[in-house]
Symmetry: C2
């Protein structure tokens, strides 16, 4: 995922070569079709996920796919066209953890500018008792704060979101937070490079 | 802006034809390069903007560009790669209204699924006294609630955001809201089709 627009080579519509330059009246380089002049924009993408609590423990998935295969995550994935952010978070929770949720409430929004993403997490209530790994998970379980193996988390935004969630639980303040998280945070969190077996 | 992925014709990387089909393990159609198998994803885009108040009036811009040229809007535009959502909202405010702001605080997030966008507004404080239309605005001014010509607003999310903001001002509750807004809301708001002069 790029932090800045990257050059393409061919117009996806007509197949003519594209050039990568600053259009008139703009201030950053874009891909422009040399045949039609059409400008192609690249923008940050949204990742949406949930925090689901059951008897004090949090729903977590072990990733069965790259990147960060075998590491632990909250259920989350890219928001799709045609769905709301809350519906997307619920869909990912069903797909990755086999858990149906209701009433997702916005908890945080983390700008991850160095990879061109925004990670958005919702607190959601579990419906029923079913859970099971989907295609993208190898394991699904519920973990208490002291059961989480923090360096084995998949991504810095998962680390940050869980940290904040447990802090919110202690203070009772679940007000929405907006923050940003850079590549230096990854290092500060000291996430493991290799998964534990 | 599409509500669902739309077919492209050529791979932007290698120029080979693409096909538009559901990849294995997926559940929606994507553009796939017939030469390399690369899959191209299309996702919702974020529009970020601000609500800036000065002496009880709200900073507003008259659009100098399509769509909705000559209609009124809050300063807002597409979030760019490499910037945080709050920084993007501040940038748009400077570009469109010549206003420098500080400390944008998240106010609302509106999923607009039928056009594949999320509109995110921040309340921000104006620094200094300067304001002036940028390239994309023909007029910039500050309007009180009863000075706004509601049917002349550019977009339904602007209508909704201003409505909610004035309601929040009355109740004192500025808690972040997440909502969605469909094409039927446009009709319910009865925004004018033609701009008044």
């Amino acid at each position: 995922m790029p932090a800045m627009p990257e050059p393409m080579n061919f117009c996806p519509n007509c197949g003519a070569p594209t050039e990568f330059r600053i259009p008139e009246g703009d201030d950053r380089r874009r891909n422009i079709c040399t045949a039609t002049g059409e400008i192609f924009y690249d923008n940050p993408r949204n990742v949406v996920g949930t925090i689901v609590e059951r008897e004090g423990r949090i729903l977590m998935c072990r990733r069965a796919i790259e990147p960060r295969r075998h590491f632990w995550t909250l259920p989350a994935g890219f928001l799709e066209l045609g769905e709301t952010s809350a519906d997307g978070a619920a869909r990912e929770t069903l797909e990755e953890a086999g858990v149906t949720v209701r009433e997702p409430r916005l908890f945080n929004m983390i700008d991850v500018t160095h990879i061109g993403q925004i990670h958005i997490f919702f607190i959601a209530d579990m419906i029923g008792e079913d859970y099971a790994p989907g295609l993208e998970s190898s394991e699904v379980t519920f973990l208490a704060e002291d059961e989480i193996d923090w360096p084995q988390l998949a991504f810095p935004t998962i680390h940050r979101t869980l940290e904040r969630y447990f802090a919110s639980r202690r203070t009772g303040d679940f007000g929405v937070r907006v923050e940003s998280l850079g590549s230096q945070d990854w290092r500060a969190m000291a996430l493991d490079r290799e998964p534990r077996d």
